[in-house]
């Protein structure tokens, strides 16, 4: 079976570790990046099917990365889930404005993350 690729981009190592564990448990291939630029590089080279993006990262923010993904013809089909500690309505608006497919606030529920992953990735096949 050809595994779907999920990129996880977060500057918090424990969050990276926990999300990786969850995604891997659901049977997807996991790529990780510690900041926005590294994430973009992996997006271009590996073409993952979905990216879980933290927003407040040093350098490029999650919003920046999301905009670049959605503006790029080759990456547009990649699902973007913003995973952020900024839980205000305005932040969520900014998130969808930048083109995100899903917006989850931290602390997120791993169960609903698992559900959304399947909904997005399994439906498209």
């Amino acid at each position: 079976v050809f595994e779907k690729k999920v990129l996880i981009c977060d500057d918090e190592p424990y969050i990276l570790e926990s999300v990786s564990f969850i995604v891997r448990e659901e049977g997807y291939e996991v790529l990780t990046a510690n900041d926005g630029q590294e994430g973009l590089n992996l997006l271009r080279s590996e073409k993952p099917d979905l990216v879980l993006l933290d927003v407040m990262m040093p350098g490029k923010t999650g919003f920046d990365v999301c905009r670049e993904v959605k503006a790029d013809e080759t990456m547009r089909k990649t699902y973007v889930i913003l995973l952020t500690a900024m839980g205000q309505d305005r932040d969520m608006e900014d998130g969808f404005q930048s083109g995100a497919d899903e917006y989850m606030t931290k602390p997120f529920s791993p169960r609903s993350l698992r559900r959304r992953l399947h909904e997005l990735l399994d439906e498209s096949t």
């Binding site: 918090e12 969050i15 564990f21 500690a85 606030t105 602390p107 169960r111």
Partner: protein, 529 residues
Amino acid sequence: MRRLGLVGQLAFISACILFALGIAVTWYSLSQLRRIVYDESFNRVEAQGLNWIEANADVLTFRNGAAIERLVGEFSRRDDIAYVALADSNDMPVAASRVPPNLRRSRSNVAAMPNAAVHEMNSREGKYFEFDFAVKPRGMSRDLQTMFGLAGGDEPALVLRIGIAKSDLDKQVSALLWRNAPLYTGLVLLALIIQTIFARRVVRPIVSMGQAARAIAAGDLSSRVGDGANLKNEVGALVRNFNNMAARIDELHSDLEQKVRERTAALEAANAKLEELNRRKSRFLSTVSHELRTPLTSIKAFAQILLDSPIEDQHTRHRFLNIIDGETDRLSRLISDLLDLAKIDDGVVLWRMETFDIANLLQHACAAIMPVAREADIALNCTPSSGLVVRADQDRLQQVVTNLIGNALKFCPAGADVLISADRAPTSGPAQRAEGEYVVVSVADSGPGLSAAECGKVFDRFFRGANVKHGTQGTGLGLAICREIVQHHGGEIWVDSEVGCGSTFRFTVPVATKLAKAANSGVEETTRV
């Protein structure tokens, strides 16, 4: 009248007064002149009459009819004589020349003359004054008189009547009057001219003052009255007072404007400060929420993983539980740091100010952290000079020192050195916030160092350097709390560093004064409000 303006009004009033005065003067002059002319004429006519009687006494005495006719005719043709008539004692006409018809006496004895009675006569041709002379026979004895059949006694033998035209006299009077008319007119004109010139001098400043007042009302506060300020009269004083008033208004107004400008600027500055404060607060709040959510996220994620996933590997389970434990600690540290900062910000911290030797405090702090240093294989060298007595809150100051040493241990690789020392300093630091004697405490490490940009921000809340890995113990608030504590004591905290050459954190504390040392019997508690 109102249209004439003040000058015109004054001229008009003056002209009226002068006109009335002229009439009065003319009327008075007329009566005076009339009296003079009449008196003079009356005297002259009386003298002529007497002379004529005297000169023609003989003819009159002997009543030579033809001669009398001729004499009377000649007499009546003199310049100022209108008519002459001669009558006898029975009032029967003897001779008459140029007597106007219907002559009747209208008033008797209009003037008191010694030798003649003067009556006013009326006729169709006008009014006349008639002089009645009694002609007494002379140079003839009573007998002779009787012999010639002349009336005897003192009764007048004849009555000579000389008439003069009243209109002739009045003509003389009016001629005299008209001779002075140009003089009067000239004087009146001169008076009016002088009056107008003076009025103009007075009125012009008032007009200027009106214009200036209008200009001031319209907003031109620099407007002044140029005319009449040097006049020595009331108008001059008025102009000077007006100008003083205008200058004062100008001054007050510009003062006021200046004050308003200053006040507005101050308010704008205060407002900008408040807005900046508000922005900072809201940024801080969103940062705080982010910082609090991050450890919570890990805790929640790992807890649910442990609940949902059958993890056989004991090592992995243990690791996840350890992370939850560590993140819980991090969360509680963060909360207590935030509370610390909030308390310092709000001024509700109790500062227990004591006087003590800072060397003891440094030694104590080093001893407490030594096990951590040993485990990290980092050498701690504590070499403070002794006898540096400061006045400070010991616990808080130790918190600062411990934090600085802890940071050094956290970022230095194994085998590095950390040097802790204390010396006297002449100022409070690079910013020279205060004067006086200070103790400077320095914590120098041989770690990775900081860039210049990082040096400027390292004391800001939630600032993290490039070398700081997230998810480690730090809360991002340690140095911010250090700065608050040091600044509360009147000192400064700063860092000298270069990438790759280690960092030296320094802070200053004021040296205790003798007074403070003496007062150290008890513990003084101060609250910053």
